[in-house]
Amino acid sequence: MTAPVIEAIDAVMFLGRGASRFEALKSVSVAIAGGELTLLMGPSGSGKTTLLSMLGCMLTPSSGTVRVRDHSTAGAKPEELAKLRRDHIGFVFQSYHLFPTLTAIDNVRLALDVRSENSEQAKQKASDALAMVGLAHKAKSYPRELSSGQQQRVAIARAVIGNPSTILADEPTAALDAENGRIVMSMLARIAQDPTRGVLVVTHDPRIVPFADRVVYIEDGRIVGEERGVADFKHEAMQSQGS
């Protein structure tokens, strides 16, 4: 197997302070491999978003190690973490987080802009990325003029345009209908076919399990299981989510 694009080793995460201090992750070890779409599933409050934030270099573990390619996030300052995200990670959020004052193409281009790429070539790349998610004809539209599914596809274009080694998505289909959920997931699955790129998707949604190469289960801040060959476990996943 290829070296993981991101891994957590014995990572512990405390959140909050004082009385509300809470051990959201209890010694988690997990590795995301390139060329795979990994699903992270578990009950609400189990620590999925916390794990995603930690792997995505938004939080540093209270103890243990998180490594992005060969860089450990231990002791990194906010500015260094931002650079790690810029260089290695693309995010897709449940609520898209597009910029309402920018057009679709500018929203995509923004991910290059923060990397100081703002030439004509960057514009071309942005329009290619939009074409890849099937929205070439919506380049000049503002987010409010796009459907939810289209907005999430713009967000996917924004996440991949910087060519990151990892795409992290937190409940990317939660706000979408079944049809759009399927479109978004098949795009993420296609992105994960690139062997240099790993995709991790946090979800509650059992319908998307068939898109995964691997499913990791988390409960109460601990990894409790992991399955490959998802079709077989689809049923089980449904039950554990109780939906």
């Binding site: 910029f99 923004l110 991910a111 923060v114």
Partner: protein, 377 residues
């Protein structure tokens, strides 16, 4: 071009009402600063207007003299002593003082007489718009400024009046020679000034010294200081500084204008800071998203500072319009608001500084956000 500009521009114009509030804040404070500063410069100019227009290398002034109009009298001995100092070419007397002007209608007004030898170039009226300097030599001749036509009930060459019960005739009219004391200046010959003000023939208010060609002015001044016991010897710069210090700082007038300007700046900064801060707060999720997708702190600073500078540019243009209007409106008043190119540059700089300072608060706010919030909404 970087999208930071577009983002800043859109953020700014996204909420028109707030933009208007920001711009009003900037315009308000910059116009106030303009007025305070303009008055300050205007006042400063007026205080030294006579010194600025006198051709002299050195002034012999009565001991303790604080400003031009403050003159006590000097004795001619001082003049002779001065003339005996090495390097002094001439020392010509000037007589100044208050007198009363009576118009043919019977109306009276206090005036400030300035008398100098009509053949000497030391202190003569300038900015002539009618009449001539030569005609001041004619008996009873005086020059007045057009800003005091009403007060003196005279507006043309040839009009007559009385000063200290002596007949005078207007032979020259100047423009823009105003006194900050608001008492009209009346120029006349040395002898007439003496009789209008009741000054004895062996006295003078000032002696204007010209040094011999090639002589070092400060050396001559030092030699004169050693010789003159009942008078002070000042360079024009020293006299100017003394007048300015007295009026602007001794009286508190300068402090009042300066405090006003500083307060205006503070209020303006507070308004701009407040609106920029609340704009940033409204867009906090966007800034968090920027941070999440890996933007550096510098990039976010850039967006906010561009927003501040854009506000500054808009505010400054409008403020400049108002400032120009104020200058126009006050041009012919007793204390016109003066605006010069360097002052405009200073105001532009102040506007920029004010807006960038205001941005600091917003930047602190944004840099405190945890990008994790992008997952919680």
């Amino acid at each position: 071009m970087s999208l930071a500009y577009k983002l800043a521009f859109r953020n700014l114009f996204h909420d028109r009402l707030r933009l208007i509030a920001t711009v009003i804040g900037i315009v308000f404070s910059i116009v106030l600063v303009t007025i305070q500063l303009g008055l300050y410069v205007s006042f400063q100019r007026m205080v030294t207007v006579m010194i600025d227009h006198t051709k002299a290398d050195l002034w012999i002034v009565p001991r303790g003299s604080k400003f031009f109009e403050d003159s006590a009298l000097l004795d001619e001995h001082e003049r002779f002593r001065a003339l005996s100092v090495d390097g002094v070419a001439e020392a010509v007397p000037v007589v100044i003082g208050f007198a009363s002007w009576r118009a043919p209608s019977g109306g009276t007004a206090p005036v400030f007489i300035i008398g100098s030898d009509t053949r000497d170039e030391g202190l003569r009226p300038w900015n002539l718009i009618a009449g001539s300097l030569e005609s001041l030599a004619v008996p009873g001749a005086v020059a007045i400024d057009r800003s005091y036509f009403d007060r003196l009930e005279a507006s043309r060459i040839g009009e007559r009046a009385e000063i200290s019960d002596q007949r005078v005739e207007v032979v020259a009219i100047t423009s823009g020679i105003r006194s900050f004391t608001t008492t009209p200046y009346v120029f006349t010959s040395l002898d007439r000034a003496r009789s209008f003000t009741g000054t004895a023939a062996n006295k003078g208010s000032y002696f204007l010294v010209r040094v011999l060609q090639g002589a070092n002015v400060t050396d001559v001044r030092d030699r004169m200081r050693a010789r003159l016991t009942n008078a002070e010897v000042l360079t024009p710069d020293e006299f100017r500084r003394r007048s300015t210090n007295f009026w602007l700082f001794g009286t508190g007038a300068g402090a009042a204008l300066f405090t006003g300007a500083v307060l205006a700046m503070i209020v303006g900064t507070a308004i701009v800071a407040q609106t920029l801060y609340s704009s940033t707060k409204d867009h906090l999720h966007e800034f968090a998203t920027l941070r999440a997708i890996g933007s550096s702190g510098a990039y976010i600073h850039k967006v906010i500072i561009i927003q501040a500078l854009l506000s500054a540019a808009i505010g400054f243009c409008i403020a400049a319009g108002f400032g120009w209007l104020v200058v126009k409106i006050t041009a012919d008043t007793a204390l016109p608001v003066v605006m010069t190119l360097p002052m405009t540059a200073i105001l532009l700089l102040l506007t920029v500084v004010m807006c960038v300072l205001s941005a600091a608060l917003a930047i602190v706010k944004v840099m405190r956000i945890d990008p994790v919030i992008v997952f919680t909404r």
